[in-house]
């Protein structure tokens, strides 16, 4: 045997295995082998013949309950009412009255009407109480209900056409004899429907007995067998317009004729609308009902006109003339076709006393079906469901279309399907279908594959044939809302953020607000210029007034200082103890701006030294302006001493190189400074011609205004200085920084500021006198500073 491929995991299993040995999925279908179908239906496969009666077990419970209830109601109505039904001519049996009889869950018997159709015995069917399986309801095509061996007179692809003058039942309607002798109610009313309308619709339906029998022929052979209600529908009578109730699955307690009468009344009251409309889902009387009034249009032999209704959509918005028919339709029947327009809540269209709308809708759906369940056309693979029909069954979907046996009744031309869907032959009634198997007519309803070739449509004017998707090949599947077409391709949306200008403006504004939050906020500061300028002017004015006034007045209010500090005393003592006529190095390293103070400090010291020791002064400077300042010093405050250049002093001028120049001079003064300020040999022909080392200087006097210069000379001459004393005449601003060198012994004496000059002047007999001139002004200025500091 051929191996079976597991549909879940794809593994190959032996054919005799029921479950996959790899994934434990079922390999063998639950349903047993049926006639003509041993494997699940695959796309392209033609439907197999099924027995409609076999579907009884798979009927949903609610449908059975409705059927049973309808039967009960029919019986009750039959007992209560005794009105003839002239319109129909004969009391049409309740088509679905057989459902009423099957109320109980355990009463799963083959209905008589079904048995009559299939020709099989009505047998009890196993209960399926609580079964979760979805059961198909046989709504197949007439061919399915035919007995074996009978040729289908109508193919599923052929639309039901109206043949005139044919009174004989079509083959699919001919086989409606009950198998067990029980009159099939459906068969009966179908027969009655074919009978002329003269027959009063007095026939009471016997739904229970008739519907319980399965038969391959579900349609009456003659019009005498048509149910009364059906006969009444043949007559165009206005019926009351009432909105039929479709929610209740239970059948109303009415007889078949009564509900049919009601439908007719409804239609009459609401008024006939354009009967010429043959649009799908229109409000006009379905054609199959109209045909009842014109039996000559019937194209099929014996098929009542109401069964030969033109293509009309299944979902018809009810006309008022159909309302009466809808009212007469029992609820169980309405529940059997919940989506049918026959049971819609809209006002029914006027019924031409012919087939009910639900029947017409089913008929037209069958017409619009684009498949042939039995005959595979050459070159055109039949449609098929993409998915397993057993798994995706929806019981309610079954009632959206007219069964084939109803739709093809009275039609001469079988509906042409867009694809080669073979018509389903009548299913054999020998055995019931096991649950899970699709009947042939359901198989015929399988959608067409989108890759398959499409046959030309022969749909009615309003029904659209689905050409793609899972419902391909079906007509009238979608609600008949104008404008609905096939779903379009999803619109491609750009991934770019779609923002309107307003949104962009808002986002930009938000960005600005956020940026402003992080941006540093400038601190507004007041203009200090005004207040500082006034204060500066005030201070300047005070100083000018004090200084000018005191200088102008030449006051001597403040006495010169008396207290001699240690550093000044030492400086004085060293100055007084320098050997006479010895070279003394004088370093002039101060800026020209401080000439006033430095001359007031250095002049008394040098004057005292010159007067007492008559040294040979050697002036040198690490500043380019030092030589000029030295000359100024000798030609100004020390003018009276009459020192001559070249004999009493040397002016070596500028010593370049900074630290290295000082160190070089300390190592070899003659080589470091060979020329004087006049660019003449400085050492030749002078009293210092014999000087060869730095240590030969008797003292070094540094006149400086910054501590850096003093430190440079102190540091670089430390090794070469030896015992040579170092005196520093510094400005008041550099004195604190030079004091540590005095405390460390590196500097022998310090004369700092006007205070030191004043003390030296007192020891120099008041010469030159700058300190005395400046002292009162200096004192007042210092007092002013103290007052201002204290005052804040």
């Amino acid at each position: 045997m051929a191996d079976i491929t597991c549909p879940v995991c794809g593994e190959i299993n032996s054919a005799d295995q029921e479950f996959c040995q790899y994934c434990q999925s079922r390999l063998q279908p639950l349903t047993g082998p049926l006639k003509g179908a041993d494997a699940p239906i695959t796309p392209g496969q033609f439907p197999t013949k099924k027995v409609t009666a076999d579907l009884e077990p798979i009927l949903p419970q609610w449908l059975r309950d409705a059927r049973d209830k309808a039967r009960k109601n029919a019986e009750e109505q039959a007992e209560q009412e005794s009105k003839p039904e002239p319109e129909t001519g004969a009391s049409a049996p309740d088509l679905l009255a057989g459902l009423q009889s099957q109320k109980a869950e355990d009463e799963e018997e083959t209905p008589d009407w079904l048995a009559n159709i299939t020709g099989s015995k009505s047998k009890s069917k196993k209960t399926e109480t609580g079964s979760t399986e979805v059961h198909w309801v046989e709504l197949g095509k007439p061919n399915e209900f035919m007995q074996e061996g009978e040729e289908p007179s109508i193919s599923a692809t052929q639309e039901p056409t109206e043949s005139a003058g044919e009174e004989s039942l079509p083959p699919w309607l001919a086989g409606t004899e009950p198998a067990e002798g029980g009159a099939d109610e459906l068969t009966a009313w179908l027969r009655e429907a074919e009978s002329p309308r003269a027959e009063p619709p007095a026939q009471e339906p016997s739904p229970r007995t008739e519907s319980d029998s399965g038969s391959s022929d579900a349609f009456p052979r003659s019009s005498e067998e048509l149910p009364d209600w059906l006969k009444n529908l043949q007559e165009e009578k206005p019926v009351s317009s009432e909105v039929p109730q479709m929610e209740s699955p239970l059948p109303e307690e009415k007889s078949d004729s009564d509900w049919l009468k009601e439908i007719q009344n409804q239609q009459a009251e609401s008024g006939l609308e354009s009967a010429e409309k043959e649009e799908p889902f229109s409000t006009e009387l379905p054609a199959w009902l109209k045909d009842q009034a014109a039996p000559s249009d019937s194209s099929l032999g014996g098929v009542p006109d109401w069964l030969q209704a033109p293509s009309s959509p299944a979902f018809i918005s009810e006309e008022p003339e159909q309302k009466a028919e809808q009212e007469n339709i029992p609820d169980w029947l309405k529940a059997a076709a919940p989506e049918s327009s026959v049971f819609s809540e809209e006002p029914a269209a006027p019924i031409p006393s012919e087939t009910p709308d639900w029947l017409a809708s089913l008929q037209k759906d069958a017409e619009a079906q684009a498949f042939e369940p039995e005959k595979p056309e050459e070159g055109e693979p039949p449609p098929a469901f993409v998915e397993d029909a057993l798994s995706d069954l929806n019981a309610e979907a079954l009632f959206t279309e007219m069964p084939d046996w109803l739709s093809n009744a009275g039609t001469a031309e079988p509906p042409s399907t867009p694809s080669g869907v073979p018509s389903s032959p009548p299913a054999p009634s020998s055995e019931a279908l096991t649950p899970g198997e699709l009947p042939s007519w359901v198989q015929a309803m399988r959608p067409i594959e989108t890759s398959q070739a499409e046959a030309p449509l022969s749909t009615s004017g309003d029904q659209t044939l689905e050409t793609r998707g899972p419902l391909a090949g079906l007509q009238g599947v979608l609600p008949a809302i104008p404008g609905i077409g096939p779903s379009s391709k999803p619109k491609a949306y750009s991934i770019k953020l779609q923002a309107t200008e307003e949104q962009q403006a808002h986002s930009a504004l938000l960005e600005q607000v956020l940026a402003a939050e992080t941006a540093p906020e400038p601190i507004t500061s007041f203009s200090p210029l005004a207040t500082q300028r006034g204060l500066r002017w005030l201070l300047a004015f005070l100083l000018l007034v004090i200084v000018s006034g005191v200088l102008f007045l030449r006051t001597h209010v403040f006495s010169l200082p008396v207290g001699e500090t240690d550093e000044i005393r030492n400086a004085r003592l060293i100055t007084e103890n320098i050997p006479q006529n010895t070279p003394v190095l004088v370093v002039v390293d101060y800026e020209p701006a401080l000439t006033g103070e430095m001359e007031a400090i250095a002049a008394p010291l040098l004057d005292h030294l010159i007067i007492l020791r008559h040294p040979v002064l050697v002036f040198i400077s690490t500043s380019p302006t030092g030589g000029l300042l030295a000359e100024r010093l000798l030609s100004g405050p020390l003018q009276d001493r009459g020192y001559q250049r070249g004999t009493q002093y040397l002016n070596l001028g500028f010593l370049p190189g900074g630290l290295t120049g000082v160190r070089s001079f300390a190592q070899d003064p003659v080589a470091a400074a060979p020329l004087n300020i006049d660019r003449a040999p400085a050492w030749i022909g002078t009293p210092l011609e014999s000087l060869t080392s730095f240590s030969q200087f008797s003292a070094m006097i540094m006149i400086t205004d910054n501590a850096e210069s003093a430190r440079t000379w102190i540091e670089q001459t430390n090794s070469s200085r030896g015992a040579m004393p170092v005196l520093v005449a510094s400005s008041a601003q550099a004195a604190p920084m030079i004091e540590p060198y005095y405390n460390s012994g590196q500097v022998s004496g310090v004369v700092s500021g006007l205070y030191g000059g004043a003390i030296f002047e007192q020891n120099n007999s008041g010469r030159p006198g700058f300190a005395r001139t400046y002292w009162d002004t200096f004192s007042l200025g210092m007092i002013l500073a103290i007052v201002l500091i204290i005052a804040g």
Partner: protein, 227 residues
């Protein structure tokens, strides 16, 4: 009329002094002219001094009229000067790097050596010698106490001033960065000594500036004849 140089000098000094003192009313063109004059004159004089007192006698004359030894010795500074001048051109600046490196190295060596021998060691010795008991005669308790006091003040001042410039700190658990507690105390004391030092320096600067101001006003009055 013979205008003496002193008159010209006096007039110019008077005018420039007024121009400098015009800064009291704010920055003005007169003040800037005086400043520009000062800068210009200073730069010119410095350039003249550098040429006449350095380059000419020590570089040009040896190369022109010096002997072989003098010339050979003069070539080295000449070459160094040329290499340093290459620093002006960005493309050739790398050529003057060796000369600059030599100058930097020699200057650093001289500065470090002088700083160590001329400042650091003597200052350390002076700090230690502040507690030299030999400076106090035996039996002089006041002297001894004074010595200890003076030495202690100096020592505390030195240590606390040095601790003030210690910036090593650790992150505390609360996230703050602070120095060690003992260092913080010493730094606070050092702040006092440093503050006193800066105050003294400020007083000296003011004193010097006042003296200079007095000298200038006196010069003006003398020129005018009022003093």
């Amino acid at each position: 009329m013979v205008i003496s140089p002193d008159l010209i000098t006096g007039v110019l000094s008077f005018i420039i002094t007024i121009m400098i003192l015009s800064y009291l009313i704010g920055d003005n063109p007169i003040f800037r002219i005086a400043i520009y004059l000062f800068i210009g004159v200073s730069a010119g004089y410095i350039a003249a001094v550098a040429w006449w007192q350095v380059l000419w006698p020590k570089l040009v004359i040896p190369l022109r009229s010096g002997n072989t030894v003098d010339r050979s010795l003069a070539i080295i500074p000449l070459l160094g000067a040329i290499l340093i001048l290459m620093k002006v051109l960005p493309r050739l600046s790398k050529i003057g790097s060796p000369a600059m490196a030599y100058l930097a190295g020699v200057g650093a060596a001289v500065a470090i050596g002088g700083g160590l021998t001329g400042t650091l060691y003597p200052q350390m010795a002076a700090t230690i010698n502040a507690f030299d008991l030999n400076r106090v005669s035996t039996g002089n308790v006041l002297g001894f106490m004074g010595l200890i006091r003076d030495g202690g003040v100096i020592l505390v001042g030195v240590i606390s001033s040095l601790a003030y410039f210690h910036f090593g700190a650790r992150t505390r658990p609360d996230g703050s960065v602070r120095r060690f507690g003992f260092i913080e105390i010493l730094a606070w004391i050092g702040q006092i000594f440093i503050g006193i030092t800066l105050g003294v320096i400020f007083a000296g600067v003011y004193s010097a500036a006042l003296t200079m101001f007095i000298e200038r006003i006196s010069s003006l009055l003398r020129f005018i004849g009022l003093s």
